[in-house]
Amino acid sequence: MDTYASETELAYPEICEIFADVFQHAGPLARGTSPDDVPRWDSLQHIALIRALETTFRVRLSMDEMMEIRSVGDIERILARHGV
């Protein structure tokens, strides 16, 4: 898996905090980290994730983007697209 050497390599370090807050996920994050790696990342908590991204980065994510996010790499890509 494409793992980050440290959390500074995440384009948005806040994602770490969001994962800790929403999923109680303390482990390392990788670009490929997906619902399979995060036990609490189910369809309900996905909503909490979307909401946390929206409030933290002050963006509004669309329905398509909501479906598109299946990994940490997807989140980075979509935030970059929003000019965050």
Partner: protein, 743 residues
């Protein structure tokens, strides 16, 4: 965020646990330059907030503060906040004008964790629990700081008090919240809704914890509201909570001609009213049910409240039926959604993408507020409002201080600013009329009570007070004596006082007394008191109560039986149709999506993808993939049930069978199984096999095969296998659901 400060902020912001992206000496130079320029920056309100002050050592912050001081500039709040969030502490001078939450954060940042500090800070932390609208980052910082000091009780109480606005604060508490819940008395709630209730279920736990209960919740599942009202919960439940939402309850199918649309809306309202009637005649637990909030998007424009096609009109009708039911039955408690959501604009109450994604009828923010409203309603239903309003005189019931200003110098009357004080007196009279006893508590010469007769603007009179203590004794001692005289517990006393010191003293000396933080501005107080749910009545006056008793007696038991619909009647009245089809190019993606997303009603949780599904559907002698669409009188639910079956000659194995939670509890699954078995029989199959593979989420289908007449083959382990001999056992099916094939 287009200011030039962005680049500096990025280069200065240092992710925790890693090295700074620029060398430390460079950062030092930038910070020094910034501090040099601080007075100019503060004057022009630019630049400074973007710095990550956690990187700046305390002595440089002191330098900054003194340079502002020398330039005779007050420390602005927009600069104080990032300093405090970064962990700095502000000396008394510059910190004096800050709001109480930031002041507390400053003191906590400077605290070393000594017990004496804890003792000193504890009451102001408690008062912060009553302050609404503290910004979420400040709430989070306070909780983090309290946890770092190991002041876990204070952290928990503060986080809990703000959980409805800042839910992430409570998640910081972690396991301590679970342990706290374990010590609370349990209230067993059955939760159902007109759409998805999972998000409300999560929010109810903290909301009930604030009121002192541990909510043990069982969910009825998607769209279970009417079913649960018609088959009221059994003894294992203390209350039924029903979450109604406009999208789930009042969708309109515009393919119908207009009169039909209006007729269906009316029928829907009747159905809800009948279900409520049935509940109140059969259930022995209370029902907490919300009204529907004002919709943000009309369906008849300006005519939305007048015309039969208007959504607002449809919602008004539904709400009226709910309120009538609540008025008639002591068991039904209606929670006014507009009131609960009044701090959110209508467009903030619903996030449409969440509705389309998961049939979630309220935004997360709205859900939190509704959860609070439900828990408040439960507290009011169980404990009633406070019985005593203990109220201060000087600067509370009138403006000014009697001892200094004399009777004539006191502000209270028809004119500004005395009219705000007179308005608060009117609210006191209102509460008296609603059955709450008024008690005067004033540190004053005893003759101050005469002000109510001497001053022409006073609408309260001395004899409106059931008791008063106007002396120089501590107010806590006075109220303890008075409560004992009135034979009332201190926990039924609400204390209003403009002085933070008096409030703090009351909290220390009589902790049972309810001591909210009253707004500083007298103009805000009358409406604030109206919103204070500790004063809200359950039912009004004995006359009301007896009127509803008379009402109940008038209806004979026979009449009730006639009106109360059964659950089966309800299902039949839905006129449900299951429309069957084999998977095709158009429905393949939806079939695969259902296989990925369905967790609860899923026999094997085998996640078949598009290739596997099309492979099974390819050869009719080797397999089939059957899909079912459900429609009822109110509209289409779309494709909601699917099964993939492998066929080997005269034997078939059900590899997957799953159904969306949208239609759970409507007997659709048995009608579908009947159709599946019939289709297999027509292809020469004599024996159908199936397995139940348990997961943490699919317990609801453990007995599904048994309910369809299958016999169990094996089942030593948790996984069970089942078989059905076509022609030998009676075919499964449902009388409540008609089936047909898509043409």
């Amino acid at each position: 965020m287009s200011s030039p400060s962005l680049d500096i902020s990025r280069s200065l912001s240092k992710p925790r646990g890693s090295s700074a992206p620029v060398p430390d000496d460079k950062i030092g130079e930038i910070v020094d330059a910034v501090i040099d320029a601080a007075p100019e920056c503060v004057r022009k309100r630019v630049f400074l907030p973007a710095i990550d002050w956690a990187l700046v050592p305390p002595h440089k912050v002191r330098l900054l503060l003194s340079s502002l001081d020398q330039a005779r500039l007050a420390l602005p709040r927009w600069l104080a906040k990032p300093l405090l969030l970064a962990g700095h502490t502000l000396p008394d001078g510059p910190g004096d004008a800050l709001p109480s939450a930031l002041k507390a954060l400053s003191r906590l940042n400077g605290a070393a964790g000594e017990p004496s500090e804890r003792e000193a800070l504890s009451p102001s932390l408690e008062s912060l629990g009553y302050v609404s609208g503290i910004e979420s980052d400040i709430v989070v910082a306070l909780v983090r700081r309290l946890l770092a000091l190991s002041w876990d009780d204070e952290a928990l109480r503060f986080a809990l008090a703000h959980a409805h606005a800042v839910p992430q604060a409570l998640r910081l508490i972690g396991g301590a919240f679970e342990r706290y819940l374990a010590g609370l008395p349990s209230v067993r709630l059955r939760l159902s809704g007109s759409a998805t209730t999972a998000m409300l279920a999560d929010a109810l736990a903290p909301a009930f914890a604030v009121e002192g209960w541990r909510a043990d919740i069982s969910e009825g599942g998607f769209g279970s509201a009417l079913g649960d009202l018609l088959s009221p919960p059994d003894d294992g439940v203390d209350a039924l909570v029903v979450l109604l939402d406009s999208e789930g309850l009042a969708p309109t199918d515009w393919r119908h001609p207009e009169p039909e649309v209006a007729r269906l809306a009316a029928e829907r309202a009747d159905m809800l009213a009948e279900a409520l009637e049935t509940f109140s005649s059969r259930a022995n637990v209370p029902l907490l049910i919300n009204t529907l909030p004002v919709p943000s998007a009309p369906t008849a424009g300006l005519l939305d409240r007048q015309h039969g096609m208007g959504l607002r009109r449809a919602i008004d009708v539904l709400n009226q039926r709910i309120l009538e039911a609540a008025d008639r039955s002591g068991r039904i408690i209606a929670v006014d959604a507009d009131q609960a959501l009044s701090t959110l604009a209508p467009h903030e109450q619903l996030d449409p993408k969440l509705w389309y994604y998961g049939r979630i009828g309220y935004s997360p923010e709205a859900t939190q507020r509704l959860a609070r409203a439900f828990s408040e309603a439960w507290r009011i239903a169980r404990r009633g409002p406070v019985k005593v309003l203990a109220v201060d005189f000087d600067n509370t019931l009138w403006g000014g201080i009697y001892g200094d200003d004399g009777v004539d110098g006191l502000a209270c009357g028809e004119d500004f600013p005395g009219n705000a004080f007179q308005a608060l007196q009117q609210e006191c009279l209102r509460l008296k009329a609603q059955g709450i006893l008024l008690v005067g508590l004033s540190k004053n010469e005893a003759r101050a009570i005469e002000v109510f007769e001497q001053h022409p603007g006073m609408v309260l009179k001395a004899d409106d007070f059931a008791a008063h203590a106007v002396n120089w004794q501590p107010k806590a001692e006075n109220i303890k004596r008075i409560a004992a005289d009135l034979d009332l517990g201190l926990d039924s006393v609400l204390f209003l006082d403009d002085s933070p010191h008096e409030r703090e003293a009351m909290r220390r000396l009589a902790p049972e007394v309810v001591v909210p933080e009253m707004p500083e501005d007298p103009a805000d107080r009358p409406r604030w008191l109206r919103r204070l749910s500790a004063t809200w009545p359950v039912r009004l006056t004995g006359e009301d109560a007896s009127r509803s008793a008379v009402y109940a007696a008038r209806r004979s038991a026979q009449e009730l039986r006639a009106r109360a619909a059964s659950f089966e009647d309800y299902l039949s009245s839905l006129e449900q149709r299951l429309v069957l089809s084999f998977v095709n190019a158009r429905t393949l993606a939806r079939a695969a999506q259902m296989h990925q997303r369905t967790n609860q009603f899923n026999l094997t949780t085998l996640r078949l993808g598009e290739p596997e599904i099309s492979a099974l559907a390819e050869d009719p002698t080797r397999g089939l993939v059957l899909l079912g669409k459900v429609t009822d009188r109110f509209g289409d639910h779309g494709l909601v049930i699917a099964s993939a079956v492998e066929i080997y000659g005269a034997e078939a194995t059900i590899r997957t069978l799953l159904m969306s939670c949208r239609v759970i509890g409507r007997d659709v699954e048995r009608a579908f199984m009947g159709a599946l078995v019939a289709e297999l029989a027509s292809r020469g199959v004599a024996r159908v096999r199936g397995a139940y593979v348990p997961t943490p989420k699919n317990g609801m289908v453990r007995d599904f095969y048994a309910s369809c007449g299958f016999s169990q083959e094996t089942g030593e382990s948790a996984e069970t296998t089942w078989t059905f001999a076509i022609g030998e056992a009676p075919p499964p099916g449902s009388a409540q659901v008609g089936t047909s094939w898509e043409t």
